[in-house]
């Protein structure tokens, strides 16, 4: 490759890295986001074109076939997927990035000269050995961890934590083995000197630890897990980027890695739990989790769709609080229809979103957007919490723990310190819920038994539709 070609290619990668930064920057507001996404696509086209046009690439037929096959599958999935299934889709996509990183590292080991990472004797450079082993290890953890997250989110595997008896010692031993293998592979001289097997063992150990790290984590902690795996996929890409000495890949890996890390932090904060405690696992399962046992039934007010319709119709302002239950029941369209009816009757309607509502960051916002709820009616916790004290009705649909005042009052509660939506300050509170069962934290919600609270038992979608019907 001539110096001119090498420079041109490097500048093309720089341009695509800048375009990727603009793609993320665009997400600061919905208006600019669509243009940002197009810039991201442009960046990807430039990066691929620069690589394909470089002289190292001499065969094209199979490449075009692989892109067409993968691209076709990806596009069809993207068009068809339901918005409620977005968490598992993202988890599935993370696993593919992880696997791609593993495969690229393996290919670099088998044919290092194609990547220009060998010395005169065909040995892989020391720096490249360390970088590729890091990329492969993180990629393998991302892959197996994301596969488990996908299975849990898709419901193919129970969301209840699976706790192996000696999981912490096992994980610790595996982590030490992984570090040892990275060091040993670094000290070896690559495949040419027989060090190749070390990389295969490293990949195998990383697959196992990725699997073991995610199985003990409960369904409702998935927002943290999915953000964490997002971050890992970025670090894996960066590791491979170092091996290839490719600035686009290094910059992108750093962007994605820090993005996932920030989202993990926001999610942990939204639950007032430390990252370590989430990763240690064992917290809560799906829905009924926790040692509930047989509780005596306490008096509560049970309402019908008619009662709810009457209360809502006569309210001046309503705040809707959606949670995972709304997503499960696919009730977002019904909720928006209810809001439309109320608005045409002169009621003001707003939506309040807790940071960890749903199974991934921003999950509720996407569902409401899908149901054509204008985004300027949807508010984050900090922006709307004061409004509850002046609201006539809080309509809580499929959410529980994020409204529980015990998070403020009882230091012994597992959810103590978690920021909550102050629905208790609204004049009347309507809870659409299947039963009185506690949320994933296994904590009873005091609100259910208050005088100004009405429980609407049933499926979120059916109940909302029944309320709409009685409004007519």
């Amino acid at each position: 490759m001539s110096a001119f070609q090498a420079n041109a290619t490097a500048i093309a990668y720089l341009i695509s890295a800048v375009l990727f930064i603009f793609a993320l920057r665009g997400l600061s507001s919905p208006e600019s986001s669509r243009k940002g996404n197009l810039l991201g696509i442009l960046g990807m086209v430039i990066a691929i074109a620069a690589t394909v046009l470089s002289p190292q690439i001499v065969t094209y037929g199979w490449i075009i076939g692989a892109v067409a096959l993968g691209g076709g599958i990806g596009y069809v999935i993207a068009r068809r997927i339901a918005m409620t299934a977005m968490p598992q889709l993202v988890a599935g996509f993370h696993s593919l990035v992880g696997m791609a990183a593993v495969l690229v590292a393996a290919a670099a080991l088998l044919n290092p000269s194609a990547f220009g990472i060998t010395d005169g004797l065909g040995r892989i450079f020391l720096a490249s050995r360390i970088e590729m082993s890091l990329g492969a290890a993180i990629g393998a953890i991302t892959f197996s961890g994301s596969v488990i997250a996908f299975l849990k989110l898709q419901g193919l595997m129970s969301g209840t934590p699976i706790l192996l008896p000696a999981r912490h010692p096992i994980n610790l031993a595996l982590a030490i083995a992984i570090i040892g293998l990275i060091v040993a592979f670094g000290l070896s001289e690559g495949a040419a000197a027989g060090g190749g097997n070390l990389l295969w063992w490293l990949i195998a150990a990383s697959f196992v630890i990725g699997f073991l790290l995610i199985i003990p984590i409960g369904g409702a902690d998935m927002p943290v897990v999915i953000s964490m795996l997002n971050s890992y996929s970025g670090w894996a890409a960066a590791g491979i980027g170092f091996t290839l000495q490719n600035s686009a890949l290094i910059v992108t890996g750093a962007l994605v890695g820090s993005s996932g890390a920030i989202l993990s932090y926001i999610m942990c904060k939204g639950m007032n739990r430390s990252f370590i405690s989430v990763i240690a696992g064992g917290f809560g399962g799906d829905g009924g989790g926790g040692p509930t046992g047989q509780r005596p039934e306490r008096p509560h007010k049970k309402g019908s769709a008619d009662d709810a319709a009457f209360i809502l119709k006569n309210a001046g302002s309503v705040i809707v609080v959606p949670g995972y239950g709304m997503a499960v029941a696919q009730a977002q369209h019904a909720v928006r229809e209810l809001a439309d009816r109320l608005k045409s009757a002169g009621v003001s309607v707003k939506y309040a979103i807790h940071p960890v509502a749903g199974r991934m960051p921003g999950h509720m916002n996407v569902l409401l957007a899908e149901a054509n709820v204008p985004y300027d009616e949807v508010f984050e916790l900090d922006d709307i919490n004061n409004a509850f004290s002046t609201a006539d009705v809080a309509f809580v649909i499929g959410a529980n723990d994020v409204t529980n005042p015990v998070a403020k009052t009882d230091p012994d509660s597992p959810i103590y310190g978690m920021p909550i939506l102050d629905v208790e300050r609204a004049k009347t509170i309507l809870f659409v819920k299947r039963s009185l069962s506690p949320g994933y934290a296994g904590v009873d919600n005091e609100l259910f038994y208050r005088d100004n609270v009405m429980m609407l038992f049933g499926d979120a979608k059916k109940m909302t539709e029944a309320i709409i019907k009685t409004l007519d």
């Binding site: 990668y13 793609a23 993320l24 920057r25 997400l27 600061s28 919905p30 991201g40 990807m44 990066a47 394909v52 190292q56 690439i57 490449i63 692989a66 892109v67 993968g70 691209g71 990806g74 999935i77 993207a78 068009r79 997927i81 977005m86 996509f93 593919l96 990035v97 791609a100 690229v104 290919a107 670099a108 044919n111 194609a114 890409a237 960066a238 491979i240 980027g241 290839l244 686009a248 890949l249 290094i250 910059v251 992108t252 750093a254 962007l255 994605v256 890695g257 820090s258 920030i262 979103i353 991934m360 921003g362 916002n365 996407v366 957007a369 054509n372 204008p374 985004y375 300027d376 009616e377």
Partner: protein, 108 residues
């Protein structure tokens, strides 16, 4: 002062290892990522995840190098599989992001 001078002299004569240059890019990009991501509105955190997913599939450039090389047997095959996986992500990730973003509308 002497030490500083010595360092400067040393820096002027030797060129830094390419790894150090890449590391500089990497560290600075983490800072850019930090500031850019904090400016993302929480309402768009799901599209943020899907688009970061799509762009991290720029790892396809590594797969292309392996698959398009003149020789390489198994390495070529691994590269081709990686191309297919990364392509699922690139096409799927950008398309689903665009689909989500097109849903966010203001009050009429």
């Amino acid at each position: 002062m002497d030490t500083l001078l010595a360092i400067t002299e040393f820096g002027a004569k030797a060129t830094a290892d390419p790894f150090v240059q890449q590391l500089s890019i990497f560290v600075l990009a983490i800072f850019i990522g930090y500031f850019v991501v904090w400016s993302v509105t929480p309402a768009l955190h799901t599209p943020l995840m899907s688009v970061t997913n799509a762009i991290s599939s720029v790892i396809i450039v590594g797969a292309l190098l392996a698959a398009g090389a003149a020789a390489g047997g198994l390495a070529k095959t691994l590269g081709l599989v990686a191309i297919a996986l990364a392509s699922v992500n690139i096409f799927g990730g950008f398309a689903v992001t665009q689909r989500m973003l097109s849903m966010y509308k203001k009050k009429k």
